[in-house]
């Protein structure tokens, strides 16, 4: 199998050794992304929507950090801001020890190879006019790393590695099924030997039986190449399955971050509790007296409630929650929670 590997993993690009694993591959501090919003036709005042409102996280080499939350919580914006596909408003992003927020486009290119992204919708994220071979081989063209027959061979081995038949390389995206397209997206991300792949809802658009194939593939590839994943999804069961640690987002902020076992067995934030209990379990025999049904909807990020953003739906909220923003603080064993009451 190893002769099909695209190349040696480069997670220690700066010549690091095992001890270096203490240093995170990615370190995000106080990341903010706000979008301007014109309020009304004649209003001069611009309102800012804070899609990502000061999040901090780190990812170790070879680790998977899950980022969960409901639609509009800012998880995808956070993922794209980390890659600077969307320019972050403020905050620091350190990748392999270097700050990347101030870098120019050219300087950024070096890092782009090492930080890849896989999108949710394999229908719209692949260029319909390029063959699968051209799509997967494009990173080699851009980086000028290989050409001609050699490039073709490397694409073929990537195809095999992600479970696609190399003889289908000449086909166009629409000739593949949804799961196969997602494999093409993965092969393309793999082509530049990234240290980090941001997986933005990579299996949400896939059928159940295909979902399992793609999740297994991602986990196998990680074991083989020791890549890190930032795994963004709304499906808690999937995130739980693939992640080492999990961050829960609500309206632009991380409300809880801990290892997955702790999150599942001992969630501290009331939102995490409600979220976990809301997931339907595919087993009619599983008892379910503990379901917490949250009332109301997620407030609009344009006009978030003051204090704790969750206070409007929290069954336990008190006066202080509606006034003061809780800070994400560490409790024990790296378990971080942003709640006044827990």
């Amino acid at each position: 199998m190893s002769q099909h590997a695209p190349q040696e993993p480069q997670s220690q690009a700066s010549g690091g050794t095992a001890e270096e694993s203490a240093r995170p591959l990615l370190e995000v501090t106080d990341l903010v992304k706000s979008f301007p919003l014109q309020k009304g036709l004649f209003s001069r005042r611009e309102t800012l929507v804070k899609a990502v409102d000061g999040i901090s996280l780190y990812i170790q080499p070879g680790e998977t950090l899950g980022l969960v939350g409901e639609s509009g919580c800012g998880k995808s914006t956070a993922g794209k801001s980390i890659l600077r596909l969307i320019e972050p408003t403020s905050g620091s992003i350190r990748f392999e020890g270097s700050e990347i927020t101030g870098l120019s486009r050219t300087e950024m290119r070096r890092y782009r190879q090492r930080m890849q992204i896989i999108f949710q919708d394999p229908y719209s994220s692949l260029n319909p006019r390029m063959t699968a071979e051209a799509i997967v081989g494009e990173p080699f063209v851009i980086n000028g790393t290989s050409r001609g027959r050699e490039r073709q061979q490397r694409v073929a081995s990537l195809f095999e590695r992600v479970g696609l038949r190399p003889d289908t390389m000449g086909k166009y995206p629409h000739e593949f099924s949804g799961g196969q397209r997602q494999r093409i997206g993965i092969a393309r991300a793999l082509a530049s030997m990234p240290g980090l792949i941001i997986c933005d809802e990579p299996v949400s658009a896939l059928d159940v039986s295909i979902q399992a194939q793609v999740i297994n593939l991602l986990m196998d590839l990680q074991a083989e190449y020791r890549m890190s994943y930032l795994f963004i999804a709304h499906d808690l069961a999937v995130v739980e399955h693939i992640s080492d640690r999990i961050a829960v987002m609500y309206l632009g902020r991380i409300v809880e971050l801990t290892d997955k076992r702790t999150l599942f067995t001992n969630p501290l934030h009331p939102y995490t509790e409600a979220l976990l209990s809301a997931v339907p379990i595919p087993d009619p025999a599983a008892g379910r007296e503990r379901r917490i049904i949250l009332r109301g909807d997620v407030p609009s990020p344009i006009d978030p409630p003051p204090g704790c953003h969750f206070s409007t739906r929290c069954p336990e909220a008190t006066g202080v929650c509606r006034v003061e923003t809780p800070v994400l603080t560490e409790r024990f064993g790296g378990h971080q929670v942003a709640c006044h009451l827990r």
């Binding site: 059928d207 039986s209 739980e240 999150l263 025999a285 949250l294």
Partner: protein, 350 residues
């Protein structure tokens, strides 16, 4: 094991028939004529729905679960679609032989439907009140004023706060969860016997999904509406359905009471589906997550279905017999039937 063939019948569980059946599909065939040829989107599908029960229909995209539901309301565009055979009996009467006018009286009144994406099923230029009261006036002959009162009552029933204000609002004012509540209010406003819910919570966030499912279960109890719950989500099925029908490539492959389907599935496809879903209640407790079990390959194209069992090319147990002939029904127990040659030999644990 040899006598298992003798037990094969084409009978769909008499014992459960004792309760009153309101809707049944009998060998329904819905076909589409496409450029690539004839597509049998729904092929010889039979299932029934008893008064006040929830029947889950589960399957992956393209398995025909939604097409079968649209056929019930005769909402299949013709052409290219065509109901090519079979019967749809509503309270014993074959819907397929009704005139379009009679059909209109039935839709929304006796059988109504809610869809996955409420935004596309609501009219963006009419107020919520106008939309709900329209069907009430049409089907129940209420005056404009009475219909609006009834609409407000329905909004209260689906727990929309400030119903009178909401009546004057437009769909875009509402969140996704609220819109689905409006759809449910509209669907239930004429007290139908049957509610067809086609992926009603798939577009919703998980905390909102929990609200909507709770509401649906509660209303079913209160109003006695039978629900046809169509979904790909086995969790939703487990929490709402009493019986389940599993579809694959246009056909029903297994039908069972919900406990049996999850506890003793007999079709390899059902087993595969159950095993391939990551389980929140299990995975996090394991030290290192096990690999998910996969169903190999992909769903066959309806243009080129395999010769024998449609699942055979992906089935770990398939042999020559599976590749040559489509399996007959095997009645495992009352209300539990499977279309698999080896349903007695293969026992999976999900």
């Amino acid at each position: 094991m040899e006598n298992s063939n003798a037990a094969r019948t084409d009978n769909s569980g008499e014992t459960l028939r004792q309760s009153e059946c309101v809707l049944s599909l009998e060998d329904l065939k819905t076909h589409f004529i496409t450029r690539e040829g004839l597509v049998k989107a729904v092929d010889e599908v039979s299932y029934h729905l008893d008064r006040g029960e929830t029947l889950g229909v589960v399957g992956e995209s393209g398995c025909g679960k939604s097409v079968a539901a649209l056929s019930i309301l005769r909402l299949i565009p013709q052409p290219p679609g065509k109901i090519a055979g079979g019967k749809i009996l509503f309270k014993g009467r074959n819907i397929l032989s009704l005139a379009e006018r009679e059909m209109q009286a039935l839709r929304g009144n006796d059988i109504s439907m809610i869809f996955q994406e409420p935004m596309t099923s609501l009219n963006p230029v009419l107020t919520i009140g106008q939309q709900i009261s329209e069907s009430i006036r049409l089907h129940m002959g209420y005056s404009r004023k009475d219909a609006l009162d009834r609409a407000a009552e329905m909004l209260t029933l689906v727990k929309i706060p400030e119903p009178l204000r909401r009546l004057r609002e437009y769909p875009h004012h509402l969140s996704g969860g609220m819109r689905q509540r409006v759809m449910i209010a509209m669907a239930l406003s004429c007290e139908p016997l049957v509610l067809i819910a086609d992926e009603p919570t798939t577009a919703l966030d998980v905390t909102i999904q929990a609200q909507i499912l709770e509401l649906m279960v509660e209303l079913k109890e209160k109003l006695g509406t039978a629900i046809l719950m169509i979904t790909h989500d086995l969790g939703v099925i487990a929490e709402t359905a009493r019986r389940v029908v599993v579809m694959y490539a246009g056909r029903v492959v297994e039908e069972a009471p919900v406990d049996m389907l999850f506890g003793d599935p007999r079709h390899p496809y059902t087993m595969g589906l159950l095993a391939s879903v990551p389980r929140l209640d299990r995975s996090a407790l394991a030290a290192r997550p096990a690999r998910l079990s996969e169903i190999k390959g992909i769903v066959p194209s309806l243009h080129e279905l395999p010769k024998g069992c449609f699942f055979a090319p992906r089935c770990p147990h398939a042999d020559a017999r599976c590749h040559s002939g489509y399996p007959l029904w095997d009645q495992i127990r009352p209300g539990h039937k499977v279309a698999c040659w080896y349903s007695r030999q293969i026992k999976g644990e999900a």
